[in-house]
């Protein structure tokens, strides 16, 4: 780190050595994002604000309250502490279309993303796949196998989603800790491949 050399102010010359690694959990509404975050991490309450659209201002009665221009949105947010000063933070991406503006903010600096898929509604995860492909953010597809869901063939899912051959596709149960651990270790290993040559011997 060379902040001291290039930064004139005290406020920028400090480096704590702490590192928070951001991982996104994306996928369609109701696919299990909240459950996944809760299974593996310490859930943290987190809200953000959304500027109300003109239309919603028209619907809500805002007459005479000029400052009432925003509303709050709850985010899925979880923390995994590796050690003091090293954390993984999981951010669920909002499922509804009107929150697309938040994806860019969530995606900045992310290590990678898990796209959760439900084979009964595979098309629900198309927008997430497109988004991460376009921005070059490493992602894996995790197929949530609900009770009673038949076993799925990853090759068929790959074809249906039209994703590249090297993108991992894993089957998981978001309620099972071991299963979610496997999803995250797969993502982290895949995402660091471009950074650390040949990480697989560590597996």
């Amino acid at each position: 780190m060379d902040y001291a050399a290039s930064s004139p102010t005290v406020a920028e010359a400090t480096s704590s050595g702490a590192l928070a690694i951001k991982i996104l959990i994306a996928g369609g509404f109701g696919v299990g994002k909240t459950t996944m975050v809760g299974t593996i991490s310490e859930i943290r309450p987190l809200h953000t604000e959304e500027l109300m659209s003109e239309r919603s201002i028209g619907v809500d009665d805002t007459s005479g309250v000029e400052s009432k221009i925003t509303t709050t949105v709850a985010l899925d947010f979880g923390r995994i502490t590796i050690r003091e000063g090293l954390w993984l933070y999981l951010f669920g991406t909002p499922g509804q279309d009107r929150f697309w503006f938040m994806w860019d903010e969530l995606a900045v600096g992310a290590l990678g993303a898990v796209v959760l898929a439900d084979t009964r509604r595979l098309q629900d995860c198309f927008p997430a796949v497109d988004y991460f492909e376009q921005r070059g953010i490493p992602f894996i597809v995790a197929v949530n196998c609900f009770d009673g869901a038949r076993r799925h063939d990853p090759a068929k899912i790959r074809k249906a989603l039209g994703i590249a051959g090297q993108t991992p596709i894993v089957l998981c149960d978001v309620r099972e800790r071991e299963s979610v651990k496997q999803v995250l270790t797969t993502l982290v290993t895949y995402a660091v491949k471009g950074v650390i040559p040949d990480p697989y011997p560590a597996m």
Partner: protein
């Protein structure tokens, strides 16, 4: 917080501003307290809380979570404290520069040990 009602009070914390001052910072930028003022009474309680939380380096989103305040309001508060020279907010580093082999192995080991 349900609905915009409490936000009216919350924007009081930021002097009505919705945007932080100075360079932008992202969700997991690390905030660290540089100094605690001798007279805590000079600070509003939320500012004092941030300084206490960030005696241990803490990411922005986690500060918001602990304050139970929305993200952008937390950002305004953090940017004010930065302007006063009370906290440092680290510039985000590209992932490639943040994660070396040692960190990677620590993360894998940590995940498997959960």
């Amino acid at each position: 917080m349900d609905g915009p009602g409490p936000l009216i009070r919350l924007f009081g914390l930021t002097g009505g501003r919705a945007r932080p001052v100075g360079k932008p910072f992202e969700l997991v930028a690390i905030v660290t307290t540089i100094r605690m003022p001798a007279e805590p009474t000079e600070l509003i309680p939320e500012h004092w809380s941030v300084l206490k939380i960030c005696r241990k380096p803490t990411p922005v989103a986690d500060v918001a979570s602990q304050l139970k305040l929305p993200l952008n309001i937390t950002r305004v508060i953090l940017s004010d404290l930065r302007r006063e020279g009370l906290v440092a907010i680290e510039r985000p580093r590209p992932v490639a520069q943040s994660i070396d082999e040692r960190i990677y192995r620590e993360v894998l080991h940590g995940l498997r040990s959960l």
